[in-house]
């Protein structure tokens, strides 16, 4: 028996009008979404996944239009609907949830007013009933303190709460289809885990169908029934979650999995494999298979002969792939071995942080930080927004001054020495890689001149010809073509810009490099390439890397030691193996459990944190984590600062829980024995 599909895209093609003619964004896309089904749409930026959602809502704007194909919602062609019908569908039968919750909420209306509007407008319900329904919906999206929230304005609540409100608003009109476009990308991991849990419950409880757009394979695995992987506007592989995650049948999907830092990856013995090459420009699409030029299985005169259709895989049910050689490739064979690295040997202590404290008025952004980093070591500082990790980076770089405590770089005290008073040697020894690739380079100057400026300023070279030579060598080092020296930042992709950022940071051969979320804005395959690059350069130069991140999968892969921070304090620190295995600090446990895992070989224990991150201006008394901790000991945790427990040599946990209880914790991830 087959159920009539709720949403169908048939041979959908979308183009955007550009200056030099139309640019195809989506080509020949097919999708069948059954009632109650959750379908994940995965791909890297620019692959056309958001265009599909916008086309379903007919929100493509003036430049974009559907050039071919149909979108059928309940059997009716969305593109043929008149405006009145479309209004009923939008927000009524189909609701969309975007990445940025604040942009979806009206900043000048209270949450309550905005929620009440929905049933009043769509169903003509009276104000009283609408208010009751809004209250009830807040409970269903697990909003604590609903009365206060109803009277708050959007800016008065946190990002996670805002996204719950947006979801509540979408659900109030009883939609049959929810379009979710990266709904958790702007949120912290533990908050994300809560929203993901909510989304999962919605499809079970309300029977709503979902089209879930994400770049994160792990999130799709945890929320969806089926997945479609997109590349360059085409669906390259589609099938049930379990089939695709257990046996990817397209080289691109396989490449995505290989570049994802799963618990099995290890930077020394099993490095990540990034996908070679770059996304082709939408104007210069290669002939035949679009992935051909980057594919290790590329066959000349076959793969580039004609466009490759997406076809069901023989004997697989409804798993299909857009690969000509799907029956020829030995999919289960281990990928060709790539050179493993020898484990790094760490030298003397390069950076020593002792009881460092920084206050902004009543906010203590850093409260008694103590740790050290040795030569050649990668120390990760992990935590969610507001934990003080960026403040720490600024103190280190001399952009802020600490109130007390010390930071010593090779014996030199830096905690209250602003960058303007540091000597050139110190400045050269300490450099930084920034988070946002689109911000890290000055858009007005060429790549070459920006690197050259660093070389001259840091006093590495002064002679013009030698500076130029060194610029080219640095471009070689970060594996960029030499002619990039003459290019402007806008001509580079995000990954390439971040490579220039790496080149700039290493131009003065620094002793310590601070990397503030250098990978978080990059696509997963680019992320893998940049992290490999970073490890290689670090090994060669024996640089100490302070890696600031919220992404624990990347941290597990890159770091040798991990420092976990929460609201300005260190909760746990130790070697990467120690931190990622029990005993855990309860916060570390929750952080680990919040990381979506894309690897089918691992299962994850569910740990959900209650509540929100408290405001740093009014931190909880006692243990700062006690308001959200599942193991809280009333009367102790909320009154006394936790003791620092040395659970192993070099492994410290700041917690009140008795040693035995910490030791008895079960691992968050466990390998599935086949």
């Amino acid at each position: 028996m087959s159920v009539a599909p709720l949403l169908e895209c048939k041979n959908l093609s979308i183009s955007y009008a550009g200056r030099a003619g139309d640019v195809p964004a989506v080509v020949g896309f097919n999708l069948t979404l059954k009632p109650g089904e959750a379908h994940g749409l995965v791909g890297e930026s620019g692959c056309g996944k958001s265009s599909i959602a916008l086309a379903v809502m007919r929100y493509l704007g003036r430049a974009g239009r559907v050039v071919a194909g149909q979108i059928l919602f309940r059997g009716r062609d969305v593109l043929a609907m008149n405006d009145a019908e479309m209004r009923r569908v939008r927000g009524g039968a189909i609701a969309m949830i975007y990445q940025e919750p604040m942009a979806s909420l009206n900043p000048s209306m209270t949450i309550g007013e905005q929620l009440i509007e929905v049933p009043r407008y769509h169903e003509g319900v009276g104000h009283r009933d609408a208010a009751l329904r809004a209250r009830a919906m807040l409970d269903r999206v697990q909003m604590a303190d609903a009365t206060r929230i109803m009277h708050s304005y959007p800016h008065q609540i946190s990002g996670g709460q805002q996204q719950r409100i947006v979801i509540a608003m979408a659900l109030l009109s009883n939609p049959q289809l929810l379009l979710l476009d990266e709904p958790t990308t702007a949120l912290d991991v533990t908050v994300e885990a809560g929203i993901v849990d909510l989304i999962r419950r919605i499809s079970a409880e309300f029977g709503t169908s979902m089209l879930y757009i994400s770049h994160n394979l792990g999130l799709v695995r945890e929320t969806c029934d089926r997945i479609t992987v997109m590349y360059c506007g085409e669906a390259v592989e589609s099938g049930p979650i379990a089939d695709v995650f257990r046996g990817a049948r397209h080289p691109y999907t396989r490449g995505l999995f290989a570049s994802n830092p799963s618990p099995a990856a290890d930077k020394n013995s099993r490095p990540l494999r990034s996908i070679p090459g770059q996304l082709p420009s939408p104007r210069a699409r290669p002939p035949g298979c679009l992935f051909g030029p980057r594919c290790e299985f590329f066959a000349v005169d076959r793969c580039d002969a004609q466009p490759v259709p997406i076809a069901p895989i023989a004997g697989s049910g409804d798993h299909s792939s857009r690969c000509l050689r799907v029956d020829e490739i030995a999919w289960d064979a281990a990928p060709a071995a790539i050179s493993s690295r020898a484990a790094a040997v760490f030298g003397e202590v390069a950076l020593q942080v002792n009881a460092l404290t920084k206050r902004f008025g009543s906010v203590s952004a850093n409260d008694g930080l103590s740790f050290e980093a040795r030569r050649g070591e990668t120390v990760a500082i992990v935590g969610e927004s507001g934990c003080g990790k960026s403040t720490f980076a600024k103190i280190l770089m001399g952009l802020l001054q600490a109130n007390s405590g010390s930071v010593q770089l090779a014996g030199l005290e830096l905690s209250r020495l602003p960058v303007t008073r540091r000597n050139p040697q110190t400045i050269r020894a300490l450099q930084m890689i920034f988070q946002n690739p689109f911000d890290t380079l000055n858009p007005s100057h060429s790549i070459g001149s920006q690197i050259a400026r660093v070389i001259r300023k840091l006093g590495v070279q002064r002679d013009a010809a030698k500076v130029r030579e060194q610029v080219l060598e640095l471009l070689d080092l970060v594996k960029l073509p030499r002619d990039f020296a003459a290019r402007r930042p806008r001509q580079l992709s995000g990954g390439q810009k971040q490579r220039v950022g790496v080149a700039r940071a290493f131009a003065g051969r620094p002793d310590v490099v601070v990397a503030d979320e250098p990978l978080s804005a990059l696509d997963v395959s680019v992320q893998a390439a940049v992290s490999e690059l970073l490890i290689d350069i670090q090994r060669r130069e024996r640089t100490t890397l302070l890696f600031i991140s919220h992404d624990l999968s990347v941290v597990r892969y890159l770091a040798d030691r991990v420092v976990v921070m929460y609201l300005g304090q260190i909760m746990e620190q130790g070697s990467t193996e120690q931190v990622f295995a029990p005993p855990y600090h309860p916060y570390t446990e929750a952080l680990l459990a919040a990381v979506p895992i894309a690897d089918q070989h691992y299962t994850k224990r569910k740990v959900l944190l209650s509540g929100e991150i408290p405001s740093a201006s009014n931190p909880p008394v006692g243990c700062r984590f006690c308001t959200r901790c599942a193991y809280r000991i009333p009367g102790t945790c909320d009154r006394l600062a936790p003791p620092l427990q040395q659970v192993a040599p070099d492994h410290q946990i700041a917690c009140h829980l008795p040693r035995e209880q910490l030791a008895a914790m079960r691992p968050v991830f466990e390998e599935v024995t086949p």
Partner: protein
């Protein structure tokens, strides 16, 4: 390319400004001064049309402005009547008197309106562009200081700007010109006092946004001097909105200078000037028959301002398209 355009602009503006501001001092050199500017204007027009061909609005604007620039630099070489010599009063456009053809008629003192209009654009263009440029240097400089350095600097610069802005523009002009005397250079000071605070606010806002960018942090962490950061890292990235504002502001300044002359506060007779022509014609033009005396300079000033505004519109349109 950029250096070439800067050279062309210098080649037009320097001789023209020298010609208008210091003609008596130049003596025998004066007649030849503007010769190199003529090809420069034509070349500049060609470049502007080519690079802005996608925006019809901008091309139209640049055509208007370049027309007046061309008139300004060629006026000494055109077969025009002496703009200051009374020949025959109240000749209607196209009329002939004493064997002289008055294409656009003559004014009540008998001077040729066409000649006065074409010569008159020199003064408006030179003082308008100079005053706007000075206002920009002052405004952008203080804006960068206030926006980038912040703190006490920001408080002080913003306060001073607000004080200046609290004066009605006309009152400020009258004050400055009465205190300092009526001259072209004091017009520059008056325009700077009224425009620089606005420019300062724009630049301050743009700099505030740009100073938290990672590339600025990168410059700070390698120990760059604040002046270097403002000049090399900040200024080039705020220029987009500034170019648009500069075109609009050239229009405002033209209006302001014309108004001042009209009120008898600005540039002094007898040299031709559009504001002056409008003022002199205002009484005569009460009779419909003589309205051409008013219409010709009024249309001229409007077309120049329209030109600047259309360039601003076109630039904005093109910047939005990228």
């Amino acid at each position: 390319m950029k250096a070439g355009i800067a050279l062309l602009l210098a080649l037009i503006w320097l001789p023209l400004a020298g010609y208008v501001m210091f003609r008596p001092a130049l003596g025998a050199l004066a007649p030849y001064l503007l010769l190199p500017s003529i090809p420069a204007v034509i070349l500049l027009y060609g470049i502007a049309v080519r690079s802005w061909r996608e925006s019809r609005v901008a091309v139209f604007g640049v055509t208007l402005v370049c027309f007046w620039l061309l008139m300004a630099v060629t006026a000494p070489y055109l077969p025009l009547l002496d703009p200051n010599k009374p020949i025959a009063p109240f000749v209607a456009p196209g009329g002939i008197k004493h064997g002289v053809l008055f294409l656009l008629g003559s004014d009540m003192r008998g001077r040729d309106v066409l000649s006065r209009t074409l010569w008159g654009c020199q003064r408006v263009l030179v003082w308008g562009i100079t005053a706007t440029s000075v206002a920009y240097v002052v405004g952008a400089g203080f804006g960068l200081i206030a926006g980038y350095l912040g703190g006490w600097w920001d408080e002080f610069v913003s306060f001073a700007g607000n004080v200046l802005l609290s004066f009605p523009v006309m009152l400020l002009f009258i004050l400055v010109l009465n205190l300092l005397g009526q001259s072209g250079f004091n017009i520059i000071i008056a325009v700077t006092c009224s425009s620089a605070p606005v420019i300062m606010r724009i630049v301050r806002g743009l700099a505030l946004d740009a100073r938290s960018r990672d590339y600025i942090l990168a410059a700070q962490t390698r120990g760059e001097h604040p002046l270097w950061i403002m000049w090399v890292e900040l200024l080039p990235n705020v220029r987009g909105p500034l170019i648009i504002d500069a075109c609009l502001r050239l229009g405002y300044t033209t209006v302001a200078i014309t108004t001042l002359t009209f009120l008898g506060l600005g540039l002094q007779p007898p040299d031709p000037d559009w504001g002056l022509m409008i003022k002199e014609a205002a009484t005569a033009a009460l009779l419909w028959k003589y309205s051409y005396m008013l219409i010709v300079p009024a249309v001229s000033v409007s077309s120049l301002i329209l030109g600047f505004n259309l360039i601003a519109d076109g630039t904005r349109e093109m910047s939005l398209r990228d």
